[in-house]
């Protein structure tokens, strides 16, 4: 009996991975053949990009503050508080800016995509769209994926910038250190590979957030309860995948550079 359950669960997981792969691949391919819904791309860019600005700016700024506070306490023991700027900038740009932005945007937008598309599925709006001769994959999924990829890229840059500013605020106003020194150390410590690493990650994270959110939304079954389940699954899966993929990309980037 238990073997049967394990067998069935394993098959379901393999089937879900297969379905997700085909789903995500179709969404990408749609960008290379008409019709392309540019208006929907712009609307989604506004919802994802402009709509997430406040949470990304705030989370980035205060993460920078915390990094500066924590690092100063440690660096003081070695008399190296002058490298706080370098520490904060490297950590934000290489790692935390992209990951934190990804997780914040995932919490806000993967959930909204899953619930919005899920509601459309259970109220037959997706079927109605197909009956009206419009492909929901092209109209709803592809614009969301590409809007999320492009917006996450810029949101990550903003998060990095505000993180560095947050670190500067703590360094100057709480630790009473020199601001110029903070920024010059931050600038001198940065290399092209660090920036590349920080800018490649949001491209993958944006793809994960939107494709997982849309996938769970479009596969919703079981009425309003199913919509809630899809929303939770989308946020959990996207958040975990962001961290897993971050590990893989970091390893690859460190090997390449």
């Amino acid at each position: 009996m238990q073997t049967n359950t394990i067998d069935r669960t394993a098959k379901q997981i393999v089937l879900a991975v297969q379905e997700y792969t085909l789903f995500a691949w179709r969404a990408i391919l749609n960008l290379f053949s008409p019709p392309i819904y540019w208006t929907d791309f712009l609307i989604q860019s506004d919802i994802i990009g402009v709509g997430s600005l406040s949470i990304v700016v705030l989370s980035g700024f205060f993460t920078g503050c915390v990094l500066a506070l924590q690092s100063t306490a440690t660096l003081q023991a070695f008399g190296a508080t002058s490298v706080t700027g370098r520490f904060v900038a490297l950590t934000m740009i290489r790692e935390l800016g992209a990951v934190l932005t990804g997780i914040m945007v995932s919490g806000r937008n993967a959930s909204s995509m899953a619930s919005e598309l899920g509601s459309m599925v259970v109220t037959e709006q997706i079927d109605a769209m197909r009956a009206l001769g419009v492909d929901p994959m092209r109209k709803l999924v592809t614009p969301r994926i590409f809007a999320c990829i492009s917006m996450l890229f810029f949101l990550t840059i903003l998060s990095d910038a505000f993180g560095i500013l947050g670190g500067a605020a703590v360094t100057v106003f709480l630790n009473h250190q020199n601001g110029t020194q903070y920024f010059s150390m931050a600038w001198e410590g940065l290399r092209l590979r660090d920036i590349l690493q920080g800018l490649v990650k949001p491209l993958f994270f944006g793809y994960i957030i939107a494709s997982i959110g849309c996938y769970h939304g479009m596969k919703t079954t079981g009425g309003t309860e199913g919509v809630g389940r899809s929303t939770i699954d989308a946020v959990v899966t996207a958040s975990v995948l962001i961290i897993v993929v971050d590990t893989l990309i970091t390893q690859v980037m460190l090997t390449v550079f």
């Binding site: 019709p35 769209m129 197909r130 009956a131 009206l132 001769g133």
Partner: protein
Amino acid sequence: MNDTLTPLFPSQPPDPEPDAGPVVALCGVSIAFDGPPVLRDITFCVAPGETRILLGPAGVGKSVLLKLVNGLHCPDTGSILLFGKEISRMPEREIFPIRARTGMVFQEGALFDSLTVRDNVAYQLIQESAPDDEIDRRVREALTFVGLEETFSLYPASLSGGMRRRVAIARALIHNPEFLLYDSPTGGLDPVTSTTIIELIVKQRDVYRTPSLLVTHRLQDAFTLCTHRFDPGQGKMVPLPKGHTAPDTTFLMLEEGRLIFDGSLHDLLHTDNAFVREFLE
């Protein structure tokens, strides 16, 4: 822009060609979803100008059958010909242009919540980039047809259940469909609103002679469709003389996924099938 800019509801209803093939033909269609088959070996067709009423209790697969006909589900076995084209094994992108020739009214209306009534009704026209003036004119015509001109700028959330169904009918009709599918258009509505919806369906049948497949479990609606006609002079639905029925309106009946009846109202009322008799009683 092509045929999308032709007037909504042409002044002369198209007469079906006498030797034209069926609009829809199903042969040996079966489908299952993670369990026992929902539909088994379904065979029937809809001729040009014909209205077929699909009866059956809740949960026998009526809505699934309707979605199969429109290519929204893919059957496990059997063939489905829509406008003479085999759609059961066709990739979805090739079905879209065929499906655009049909109009479908969903059970709860399935209006897009985020769009106004105008944008809902004009959905297909907007996708085809029709000019705004043309869209507004045709939407107003379609809304006038269903008696809801005043809802032009409203959102679906502010409409009653009956109004939502009527907007859904307007959306299905705006593109001059060659075949109409109604999925329980009166389900959950009060008798007065149900009669309004049935009157619209009778009007579409008798004035524009659009072939259709209508799913319902309400016998009263089915019989009204069969025993009434639309009188353009009076602008309303009137009963046919006693003993007469609409000749092109026939019945299908499902029981546990199987088609157990296919015939006229007379045949339905005089059948020996125990399930049909029980359903009628």
